[in-house]
Structures are given as structure tokens and as C-alpha cells.
Symmetry: none
Subunit: 218 residues, 4 copies
DNA sequence: GATGAATGAGTCTTCATTCAT
DNA sequence: CATGAATGAAGACTCATTCAT
């Protein structure tokens, strides 16, 4: 009994080691230059180990991508929840979380997007994720507008919102010519303007979470 | 003398053939799947020819990326010029040109960015280009604001402008869940709102250029 | 003392388990596809156990081959003995036993031969076995001929006998285009003709042995 | 035009080089120990060349096997044809050709048979070949029997014939405890006895062919 | 003694690069 | 100059063996 449990734990631990090693390797050497060699080095295991826990290198890469997305998604949900019940505050939280702090693995996402272009499975995964985020944004906007008796082009506003975030994130990742605080401010200001709210009432700093950070670790 | 010139021309032709073949290959097979084989096939030359005109496959890829950027840049400049002297109209033209039409090689740019992350030279190239575009935007915004006696946060507005464009382009490239007309509309509306202009006065269709298309050809 | 004996018994049991698992694995998955993994699965033991009882996988394979040969040899001896004292009947029994029944591990022998070609030890083993069988055949033929006052080219006849058996077995193993009864009949008829005996007097069915089957078990 | 022809020639030459190198490697090191490395060494080419002329190592092995079989088959047909129109003489020729001389690659066949056990494609190929040889034997036996007004169990006799040959060949390959002349003699004597012919009239030496040897070369 | 997780040598395969023609 | 055949380095994957528990 105990042995079986322990074994499962070991398997999960090792898989996680490899996944984090993969993300580190991609962040460090780039996607193209990440070989089984570099991944295993970053994971602190031998080259042959991948075969024990993943079908192939490709399988590991997929797992790493999904893990990263899942972590970011989870992080976003927590931030939104922490913002309380007000849909407008939740919107702001959703907009700021992407720029909450100097994230690890920021470059990895870009590598994965590039890869997704010629990987249908990855692309599908990405599209689902973004569609969900946009749908969630639309729901919050609908409620916030209703509370204010405003008429807003929900669909286009949600699109602006998500793509403004992506665009700011993309530029920041590639250029580092502006900082995260600027990103947060721009997003907050845009959403405040949309709902005729005073930005001064909505700080760009994220509420500190009490519990342990749900960030990707490694 | 003439022979030397002709030779230079031939060299340039061949280099261009290979560059366009590279872009076609990436668009067709993806970045990872583009081999010397596929590139030369697309270029209509034999496998060994790359060595005559480029230091290496990597050198060719860099050249192709820079070529693409140069073309897009040139295209943007022409569009802006075609918009006439009015800085506001020029701004709109600059914002719409990215979404002017279903572009060839849209995916290549994303690959290019991903590659740039681990290639200092490419990254530098990219940063210069974007800095220039932002600077140009700032100049136009300054003039447009002055004409209207408006006070505008130029730096942040320019940042919004460029990153909104990038974000919309990124989402369109990856998801195809919205169309180019939507992108054009969102960009136009945002810039019109910034300057208190009526979007109805500014169509999202690009003025037809009389001269030959400066688009990347191949 | 008893403990030591018991231990030796355990060792022999384990070795036998592994040997039979090896034969099963080869028969089931083929020689090339038999890995330490499949062998240990078939043996019902863990992967690391081979190292305790055999020097290496190769050592185990050799042991399995020799075990199989020893079993088949033993089986043949028993069949000959069961045929009674008459040398001619003994000859027939020796000829039929190979085709006595749909044997397990029929394919293993062919793999064994192929392997023996580049394994001097195995080859030596095989040659000794076949030499002994041929010598035994020669003795029986000599006696059977003497009883009948016949002059027979003993050496060549024995060679025909053994190689006819091998050839029929080989074809049956590879092709399954004829059945074991045909093999038994052809061997019996040939040997009967050699000694001018009426085949009708010598059934191709093997006498049932009373004792436990000496077959390779597993 | 000439270039295309030359290219085809080169391709065929290279493929043949690799096939012969494969056979040499198997003969020299055994089937299991033949790696891309040893094969290319024997072929006198670099390790990467296989990929240019064969889909994979496995594809090359299949080609080598089929080449060997085709050569042996061709050789047999020529020998039978050289024996003239008499079906009985043709039968003898067919029986002797296998033992005509110390063949190259004699061990390779055994390795291939062993491999065929777990390779359906190979097995199918082998079965077809043997079925054809047996059918051809049956036709010759039918004619030879008709000429002599004899009644013969054609099917069983053909089976005896082919399997006697295989058995003698197998023992000779594995044991070398008897020579090819003995094999030839035994086969000839058996077939002569079947048709009541005097072996003395049928030498075991093969008629010398005038043309160049069709043997597998390399 | 038994387990199975971990290792790393060995293999096949791909592909950018070279070079004789 | 252009070709494409040949090379060999580098990659991912397999699997017999080892060893801590």
C-alpha cells in the first residue's frame, strides 16, 4: 500500500523535475537549442531518464507547455478571486496579473507560440485557453456594464483587453524597453476609462496573497 | 566592368531567390521543418548552392528575417506617405497597414521573434525597428495633439498604439478567431477616441497605391 | 546445513524460472524483441533479478538454449527407450519424436542456430549434440542391418536420416505448409524402405508414456 | 539525358554496394552484430550514406535479403536450364545446385530465416519462394514419372526432395562435419532411386556454364 | 534476497556542410 | 558557376546493467 503511494509520488516528482528542467532549459538556451542533454542537465538527471517518464522528448515538451499554462491559469484565477466579488475589480485583477512580477519562464511562452504554429495539438490547446479567457472577460464586462447601466460593445472590448495585454507582454518580453509598472498602469487606465472609473481608486499593485505562491516553481 | 556589374546583379538575384525560398519554406513547412532541402526546393536551386551565397543556413535565415522586416518597414513608410501630410491621417495609416491584407509570411515573424530571444543580433535588429516605429508614432502624435491644442501623454499613448497593434496581430496570427477588418476597426477607433475624432470620417480601408506593390514578393 | 540446501534449491528454482521465462519470451515476442523487460515479465520477477542469478542477459540466453536442447535430448532418449529393445523400432521412435506434437519453443531452436553461427561455444554445443545423435543412429542402423543380414551404407544413411528430420522440421517451422503427421509419415516411410519393412506395421503415433512428461514446461 | 542515365547508374551501383556490404557484414559479424557502422565499413562508405539510398537500415536488410534470394533463384534457374530438356536431368540439376560450390553468404540465409520468424514480410517472401520451388519440382516429377509410366506420390516426393536439400544444407552450414560432395551424392542417389535410374549415369558435378558466373559477387 | 529507479553506452537517423565533377 | 553525392557530427531513443532501499 504505502509502497504504491510512494511510487506514485516518486513518479510525479520526477515528472515535475523534468518538466521544470525543460522550462529552465528553454528559458536558458532557447527552444531550438534545448536538447535531451540540456534538459536532463537542468533537471539534474541522466539522459536516459526521460524515457522512463515520458513517451518521448516531444511528449515532455507538451507536458511542460501545459504545465506552464496551467500554472499561469491557476495564478490568474486566484488573483481574480482575491479581488473580491466586484466584477470591475475582478477585471482589473485579471488585467494586472500578467504583469504582477518578473515572471520566470517569460520567454518560454513565446517559444511555445512559435512552435504552436506548426503543431496542431499545441495550437488547439492555446486557442482553447485564450477563448476561455476572453469569454471570462466578456462575462465580467457584461456584469460591470449592467451595474453601471452602460452599453458597451462587449465583444470588441474584450478583444481589445486581451490583445492589449498580449501586446504589452510581447513587447516587454522582447524589448525590455518599458517596465511592468507601465504595463499595469496602461491596462488599468484603459479599463477604467472604458467604465468611467477613476484610476486613482484602483492601485496597480496586486493584493498580497496570504498563502504560498502558486507560481511556477523550480 | 559591365561583366562585374552583371555578376553583382546575378549574386543579388540569387541571394534574393534563396531568401524568398526561405520565407516560403518557413510559411509552408514551419520553421522547425525547414531544412536546406526544402529551402532549396522552394528556391528552385540545388542543395549545394546555399554555400555559394551565404555563410551558412543560419546566415541565410538571418538574412531572410531581416529582408522580411525591411519589406514590412518599407511598406509601412509608403502607406504613411500615401496618407498625405495630415499627422492624424498618417497615424491611422501607420496603424492600419499591419492589417492591410492577408499577408504572406505572417507566421514567419513570430518564428523570427522566438529566434531573436536567443540571438542577440536579431534581437538588436528588432529593438531598433520597434524603437524607430515608436519614435515615429510619438512625433506624429505630438504634431496631431499640437494641432488640436490637446495635452496627451505621448510616450504612453505611443506605447499603447504599438502594443495594441502587436497584440491584435499576434492573436490574429495564432488564433484566426477574429478577422483583419476587426483589427483595423479597433485600432482606428482607439486612435480616433484619443484625439476626439469621429471614426466615421476615417475609413478602415487603405488608400490604393498607384505604384507597384512594395510587398514582399515570391 | 538444511538451510544451505534449501538455498541451493531456491537458486535452482529461480534460475529455472528465468530460463523458462526466457524461452516463453522468445517464442512470444521473437528473439530480437526479447528484452530483459519482457523476459522478467514472463518469469514473474523484477527486472533487476537477472543479475543475481546470471552473469548477464547473454549468459541467461545461453543457459536457456542449453536447457532447451537438454530437454529435447532427454525427451528423445525416453522415446527411444520406450520403443523397446528392437533397434529398428528404436530408430523409428528416434525419427518420430521430433514431430511428436506441436512443440512449444519450436522457433527458439532456429534462433539458437542462427546465434550459434557467431558464438563458438554454442556452436560447439550444437555440434556435439548432433554428432551424438548421428552416432546413436549409426549404432541402431548397424544393429538393425545385422539382424536383417543387410549391407547398408551406415554413415550416409544416418546422415540422410538426421538431415531429413532437420529439413522437415525446418520447413514446418518456417512455413506451416504441411503438418506434423506428414513429417512423421515421410520419415517412417523412408526408414522402412531402407530396411525393407512394411510401413503399415509401424504406426506414426508415438506410444504414450506412462510417466510424467519430460517436456519443457513453463 | 546522359546525366540522368549516369545518375541512375550511380544509384544502382551504390545500392548494390550497400547490399553487398550488408551481406558481408552479416556473414562476418552475424545478424545481431551488424550495425549501420559495420555495414557501411564493409561497403566502404560513410555512416550517413544509407539514408540516401534506403529508407532505413531495415529497408536495406530487406533489400539485401531479396537480392540474395533473387541471385540464388536465378542461379538455380540457369542450372536447370543448362541441364537440357530432360525433366529428370533438370530435377537432378535443381537438387545439386544448392551444393554446387562453397557459397558465399551461406550463413546469411540462416540469419534471415531466424529473422523471418518475427517478420511477416520476410516470412511471406520466403514462403512464396519455397512454394514456387516445390511447385516447380512437382511439375518436373510429374513429367519424369509420365515418361517412365510410373506412379509416384508427387506431393510427398517433392516435399522430401526440398526438405532433404534444406536439411543437408542446414547441417553443412552449421556443422561442416560433412562436405558438399556428400550432399550432392545423397541428393542424386535419392532422386535416382525414386525413378529407378542408375546414379552412375548422372555425375554430381555441375555442367560448367560458359558465361560469367551469375553468383552473388562482392 | 528482491526491487525498480537510474544510468550511460550504443544504435539509428537526420541534416548542414563539403567537394569532386 | 552549379550540382548533388558524400560526409560525419549531433540528435533522440533503447536497453542491459547497476545499486540504494
Amino acid at each position: 500500500m504505502k509502497r504504491a503511494i510512494k511510487r506514485v509520488l516518486t513518479i510525479e516528482t520526477r515528472r515535475n523535475d523534468l518538466i521544470l528542467g525543460t522550462l529552465r532549459s528553454i528559458e536558458k538556451y532557447g527552444y531550438q537549442n534545448s536538447t535531451v542533454q540540456t534538459i536532463c542537465e537542468e533537471s539534474g538527471v541522466s539522459r536516459g531518464l526521460i524515457g522512463h517518464y515520458f513517451e518521448s522528448k516531444d511528449d515532455l515538451l507538451m507536458a511542460a507547455f501545459q504545465h506552464l499554462n496551467a500554472e499561469l491559469d491557476k495564478e490568474a484565477r486566484l488573483a481574480v478571486r482575491a479581488a473580491g466579488p466586484d466584477p470591475f475589480r475582478r477585471l482589473i485583477a485579471a488585467g494586472l496579473i500578467t504583469f504582477a512580477q518578473e515572471r520566470r519562464y517569460s520567454q518560454v511562452t513565446l517559444h511555445f507560440w512559435s512552435t504552436a504554429l506548426s503543431n496542431p495539438k499545441l495550437l488547439e490547446h492555446h486557442r482553447n485557453l485564450w477563448a476561455r479567457f476572453r469569454a471570462s472577460t466578456e462575462r465580467l464586462m457584461t456584469r460591470a456594464a449592467a451595474e453601471r447601466n452602460m452599453e458597451i460593445d462587449i465583444r470588441h472590448s474584450a478583444l481589445m483587453f486581451t490583445q492589449l495585454i498580449d501586446g504589452l507582454w510581447l513587447g516587454w518580453t522582447l524589448e525590455k524597453s518599458y517596465d511592468l509598472e507601465t504595463c499595469r498602469m496602461l491596462v488599468r487606465d484603459w479599463i477604467c476609462k472604458l467604465f468611467n472609473e477613476d484610476p486613482a481608486n484602483y492601485p496597480t499593485t496586486m493584493p498580497v496573497r496570504e498563502e504560498g505562491s502558486p507560481h511556477v516553481q523550480g
